[in-house]
Symmetry: D2
Subunit: 138 residues, 4 copies
């Protein structure tokens, strides 16, 4: 996924605000699923969510308005009730490392209760888990 830093995402330090990265990582998850034929919107339409239970970000280099960034998203763990993603953000032009991060997720139903990831989602995600994820680690 490539995208540009929006003006509204900058702060008075003249760089992208550290909170914007959280939104980019979330968009990375959605695109990761889409590229593999899965729709997070359909997941939500089924009354499910992947609620974030933990988030870790390491900022290595500030980025500016209009910088083009490349986000690499990976499913790094999958279990019956959740999963984990990892992220690497770089400047598209130079390849310089901008930030890394990980997010842990818990599957929840409409009332916010933790649930087992139901079929067919569990099988679909499991089929992708070979794609770098370590089943059961999350």
């Amino acid at each position: 996924m490539t995208f540009r830093v929006r003006f509204a995402e900058t702060d008075q330090m003249g760089v992208a605000h550290h909170g914007a990265y959280v939104v980019w990582f979330e968009a990375g998850r959605v695109e990761w699923l889409r590229e593999r034929g899965l729709s997070y919107r359909a997941f939500e339409d089924d009354g499910l969510s992947l609620a974030v239970s933990e988030l870790r970000l390491r900022y290595r280099r500030a980025v500016r308005f209009d910088d083009e960034l490349t986000l690499d998203t990976r499913l790094v763990a999958l279990r019956s009730r959740g999963c984990a993603f990892a992220y690497t953000l770089t400047l598209s032009e130079s390849g310089e490392l901008v930030a890394t991060g990980e997010s842990d997720h818990v599957a929840t139903d409409r009332s916010g209760r933790a649930v087992r990831i139901p079929e067919p989602w569990a099988s679909r995600l499991a089929a992708l888990a070979g794609d770098g994820a370590a089943p059961g680690r999350c």
Copy 2:
């Protein structure tokens, strides 16, 4: 309602981003209702929303991180299916005018369809409409 400009609300011009005002005006509506014994959360819990159909903002003076602002919110119109609010934002210390604006709203149900404002909300809002609102104008 008084509040301070958050750091995350600034942009690289060193002032509050013009999009932040939209969020402040929304918070102003919520507080306006609360001060009059009405809860917008309870309104939403009843499956209703006051969807924004039109928004107008005039920016008179930039404000900076940590500036304390005072927001004056008024119900300026009420009809069976919607209402309108007006806003005046000033610097708390000097009273200088920062921005003015208006928002028009349509009552909607959970599916997003326009509906008549149901009881007891219609009566409660009507009782407040003398408080500056012009019934039927919206």
Copy 3:
């Protein structure tokens, strides 16, 4: 410009928050300039800004997470110290109208003072003004 509604841009009504449109319109201005060989980043690097002095938005139809939207941005007025843009937002697939809006802008220097748009920016924008803008109207 086409883009998708981000998850973080939704609110508990299940649709894109009305504040997100302000950020999209801003991105539309940046892309409008880029498509015409101008860089808003270079404009800012020259110590200039196009501060928003007025904003008007009309919401016609709610949009949901992951909807693909098309934003048409136009320079509709240009004068020595400012300009105005107009926006039409539609659903990419159906072409349905989502929102329209206009923004008025004042050129400012680093200290936030209103200034004449300096060269070469004034000439470059004037050359584009035939592209739909009404010089002097703003």
Copy 4:
């Protein structure tokens, strides 16, 4: 610091978006300084910033629009070129734990370069470090 969840901070899951916590924690740092007679705005006016180098958040319980939250912020480490804060977020009414987190910071100058925290800021922060911070640990 107590505050309410803004409507714009919710997402379509009906709870506060996980990105909003990053903004709240930042506001917590600003208020922590203010309560101790220091102004982060004055720090920025001196051309300095406390850039976030790492951020960790653990989400324990979702919160809803209009929930009143209490944020406890602590300086947990201080060194010549940076510091670290820790956060505990609870529901004001019940005291239930909502989230915890930590942020690491690097002092930077206007060009974004890491610098030693200059006087009088270094001494002022050191005087507060007994207030729970472990000097040198960050």
